[in-house]
């Protein structure tokens, strides 16, 4: 049986990695956000088997599954920008729409081309 760490402890561990990342960022005065440094640290400590997957897996799955909940409060800030969307709404949607279609088309074609050259059937 795989021993797993209770989810609360896993969350504390993930928070610690974020805080260590923030600490490193402040200490070295980096432009990269602390949480991204924390992510890199967790990735490499997992790769080096310093941190084991069962120590963080459930906690990470929980945070990623409820990602939306954590970002609802920020997005709700849109209430302050009603006039902006009244005025420039269609332009904003055009920029995002055209760029999203471009990204998807080009990424899809490049990877598809690369894979077919490698001769991967599906």
């Amino acid at each position: 049986m795989k021993r797993t760490v209770p989810i609360m402890l896993q969350l504390i561990l993930l928070v610690s990695f974020a805080e260590i990342g923030n600490g490193i960022q402040a200490w070295l005065g980096l432009v990269i956000p602390g949480s991204l440094i924390g992510m890199a640290l967790l990735f490499f400590t997992l790769k080096l088997h310093i941190v084991r997957l069962p120590w963080v897996e459930q906690g990470a799955n929980f945070l990623l599954a409820e990602l939306l909940l954590f970002f609802v409060p920020s997005a709700t800030g849109i209430v302050q920008y009603g006039p902006l969307f009244d005025h420039d709404g269609w332009k904003i949607v055009t920029v995002i729409g055209v760029s999203t279609i471009l990204v998807m088309t080009i990424t899809g074609l490049i990877v598809d081309f690369g894979m077919r050259r490698k001769g991967v059937p599906e």
């Binding site: 923030n22 991204l36 970002f71 409060p73 920020s74 849109i78 209430v79 999203t100 690369g114």
Partner: protein
């Protein structure tokens, strides 16, 4: 006191919206749209000032930091898949991410939205990373969060149409275009195509996020 009330209100709305989506699995009922719509409506109807709401909201937004750290887990688990297809995948994601940022900034310029360009630039990537990028570009993270949602809506509609019309047949290409172009929403759509598509979309989403946050601040100011 109000703080705790706002937190509970957000959790309740989110939970109900998730239940609704379980019952009616249609894109437009995705909690991404419904929970935001209900929250905005509640704030307007109950005359709650956003600044007051944020006193509780920020407690939850804080969790985006450990959530960003959590991306290390799927990245670690999918590392063998990533390594196997490293060349075509990285070529696609790097080009796609570059195209996203450059086309967004140029289009914003053409449509006289230059002032919004830093907030629009990271719209293709997952929310926590998009908001962090927006902040380091001196954009407005709140607006970026909304732009990310608009991207999700466009992406889940356009993605499958592009796959169909361009006859994208390899699973890898399908996953890559959905993950690079429409972050988590694209990824969940990719899982409907298959397990491989979904995993590749997850990898693409995370890689696109990392690339965006590392490189956007280096060249967006010069576009």
């Amino acid at each position: 006191m109000a703080k705790i009330l706002f937190i509970l209100m957000t959790i309740l709305v989110y939970w109900l919206c998730k239940k609704l989506y379980k019952k009616y699995t249609i894109v437009i009922f995705s909690p991404l749209f419904t929970s935001l719509f209900v929250m905005v409506l509640l704030l307007l109807v109950l005359h709650i000032h956003y600044g007051n709401y944020w006193s509780g909201g920020k407690v939850m937004a804080w969790w985006l930091q450990p959530a960003t750290v959590a991306f290390a887990v799927p990245l670690y688990k999918l590392y063998p898949t990533m390594k196997r297809h490293a060349l075509p995948l990285s070529l696609g994601v790097v080009t796609g991410t570059g195209i996203s940022i450059v086309s967004t900034v140029l289009l914003a310029d053409i449509l006289h939205l230059t002032i919004l360009a830093p907030s629009l630039a990271p719209h293709s990537v997952t929310t926590p990373i998009a908001m962090l990028t927006s902040r380091s570009l001196h954009g407005n993270p709140t607006l970026t969060a909304v732009f990310v949602i608009i991207t999700a809506l466009v992406g889940v509609i356009a993605g499958p149409l592009i796959i169909q019309h361009l006859k994208i047949r390899t699973s890898l290409a399908r996953g890559a275009l959905l993950g690079t172009g429409a972050h988590a929403m694209g990824t969940s759509r990719a899982f409907e195509f298959g397990e491989t598509e979904g995993s590749i979309a997850s990898i693409s989403m995370i890689l696109a996020g990392i690339l965006t946050i590392l490189f956007a601040p280096l060249f967006v100011p010069y576009l």
